[in-house]
């Protein structure tokens, strides 16, 4: 799609080989605005966009020379949606080269790239996402709400507990043990499916997805603990120490799945997380759960306090049945569903 009277740009879907130009612009754009930014490698890009078992989507605005001026991209999420399979996507890494922002002020190349992206990938059809969401920076949000019909799903509070405040007094349930693993075992899939059955929408936690997210990522390492009772997986947690919400060295609970009413398994996993945090030098555990989920209150009852963040989840639903307020009430996600950790 040529852009008419504007400088000769083409807006189109990603084609193999574009990744080099994407990375060149990505590293230049984000390097200019984020002092903590580490340039992304091609290996990490390929992991993120090529090897995600739930797929990815990218639209680009390119110059005649093949330079990426603007990108709108999303990471796919296969989801359980009220007992059926569907797809969501998390919008990430959207950008416009600052040198081109002045060329077209309103609505800008960002919007010109995002609109065909939404038309192509948003909807109820096969290979489409019924819901697109993200955690935007403020400037992206201004554009998103004005031109792309994004709405706020929730403002985000985090859950925080200094290690000594985590209440383990109920003790792990008799017979529940937490086993550290290098890769996710097959029986963890039943844990995810059981949790998904308790909410309206949740990303699929199968071995392929979990290994991709937490084992195969080339630039971060995660600790994985599987809770077992009588040999069968009944829950799991994923831990990493790192930066979150502008605080360095946080003990991050990146994923935590177990039956919400199973206090014994939750306590066993929390005990393992406290031990992991101590070993890594973190002073407190931090995580996210939807405030509408049972985990939100359960974690508070075990010593976590809610605290503010600058994050807010926004999204656009492409089906009437699952409007934003429905998603606010019924969509379960953890920190590991985001690209924040």
């Amino acid at each position: 799609m040529p852009t008419g009277a504007l400088p000769p740009l083409t807006i189109r879907e990603y084609q193999p080989g574009d990744e080099h130009a994407i990375l060149a612009t990505f590293n230049r754009v984000f390097g200019q605005i984020d002092p903590t930014f580490r340039p992304r490698t091609l290996e990490t890009w390929r992991w993120q966009f090529e090897r995600n078992p739930s797929g990815s989507r990218i639209f680009l605005a390119l110059t005649e020379e093949g330079q990426v001026v603007s990108q709108y991209a999303g990471l796919g999420q296969r989801v359980h949606l009220q007992g059926e399979r569907a797809s969501f996507s998390q919008s990430v890494d959207s950008m416009t080269d600052p040198a081109w922002r002045l060329v077209l002020r309103e609505p800008g190349f960002f919007v010109l790239t995002a609109r065909p992206y939404g038309e192509r990938f948003g909807g109820p059809g096969p290979d489409q996402d019924v819901f697109m969401w993200g955690l935007p920076v403020w400037s992206a949000w201004r554009v998103g709400k004005t031109y792309l019909d994004y709405e706020v799903v929730r403002t985000v509070l985090k859950l925080v507990a200094p290690l000594e405040r985590v209440d383990l007094s109920s003790g792990p349930a008799s017979g529940v043990e937490v086993e550290p693993v290098e890769r996710f075992p097959a029986d963890v899939e039943a844990v995810g499916a059981a949790r998904a059955a308790l909410c309206g929408a949740m990303a699929v936690r199968d071995v392929a997805q979990l290994d991709w997210r937490f084992v195969e990522r080339p630039d971060e390492r995660y600790d994985i603990g599987i809770a077992r009772r009588g040999g069968a997986a009944v829950g799991y947690a994923v831990y990493r120490r790192g930066l979150f919400a502008r605080v360095e060295g946080e003990g991050l609970i990146c994923d935590f799945i177990c039956p919400p009413d199973d206090v014994g398994t939750r306590t066993a996993l929390l005990a393992w997380l406290v031990e992991r945090a101590r070993a890594s030098g973190a002073e407190r555990l931090v995580t996210l759960f939807p405030d509408t989920s049972p985990e939100w209150l359960a974690f508070q009852r075990q010593g976590f306090h809610a605290a503010g963040t600058a994050y807010f989840v926004v999204g656009k639903s492409f089906v009437k049945r699952h409007r934003i307020q429905w998603l606010y009430q019924n969509w379960f996600a953890t920190l590991g569903d985001t690209d924040l950790v």
């Binding site: 706020v152 403002t155 405030d291 508070q300 809610a306 605290a307 503010g308 807010f312």
Partner: protein, 333 residues
Amino acid sequence: MTERVMKDYEVREYRDGDLPSLLECFNLVFREGNPAHVDRTRAEWEYLYARNPAGRTVFVALHAGKVVAQYAALPITVSVAGKDRTYLQIVDSMVHPAHRRGLKHPGLFALTAYPFFDAFCGKDKGWINYGWPVDAAWRIGKTFLGYEVVRTQHVVARAPDPSATHPPEVERLRRFDDQARWLYDRCAGDWGASAIRDERFLNWRFVENPFHDYLLLGVRDGEGVLRGYAVYRFCNWKLPRMGLIVDWLVPPGEPEVGELLRRAIDARAAADGATAIALFLPEWSPWFERFQDWGFLVWPTDYYMVGRSFHPRFDMRWLRERWWYQLADSDLV
């Protein structure tokens, strides 16, 4: 604007003489699907709109001389960077059922709101419109009226402590006096924006309120100076029999005052048989953490707190991060 509404409608600011048909319409609309609705009286309307110390902001749409729609707000005087400004809490907005389908989108609701905005909102008028809308009003508000989410609204809540006893240092206040403003000024320094808690506002909101009875609790120092207060109401709200802290004004640097008031609220709520004590607190306030230290949990509600800014400097993020408000700033309780 009247033309846009169709020639059969007149949209304008409220005038004396509109009240009988306004109340008739209001009670018809709010009786719909709500068997607990108690018809609003002239005295109640006059308390809300005629005696509000921050003024009256009401627009109506009339058909054949009778009010069939209203877009209205309860203004509050807010201190923003030391200057008095006006925020408008949008309340009681309605359209008569017989007039909801007569117009194409955006409909009479929005077409009554637009001239209200022209009259009362802007950089030299009301800076912020806000509210906790019901679902139908929120859909119209975001689609046609430019409202956005400030935050997903939480309450901080827990069951009363049955062992609490009323501390003798906490006294019952009959009315607020000029010390309320002194106390407010000591607290407001850390806030970007907050409704001014002075005796006019507080006595109008809590003492002269014809709808509800409130318990005013205060702590004074040895010289009789007010060091903190809490306003309590026992009522059915999100749960039956709740003990609500409708307003809480204590300097964060004086936790011992907060502790006394918290114990007094616990004792009163336990005596009332309350199922829960609850309040609104911004998550950036030190009291948000302190109440959690006292065993309160942070619960979701079904409310979005929404707003529309008429001043480019104050967007929803600024409001979320800087605006101190309580249940007292709402008409929810």
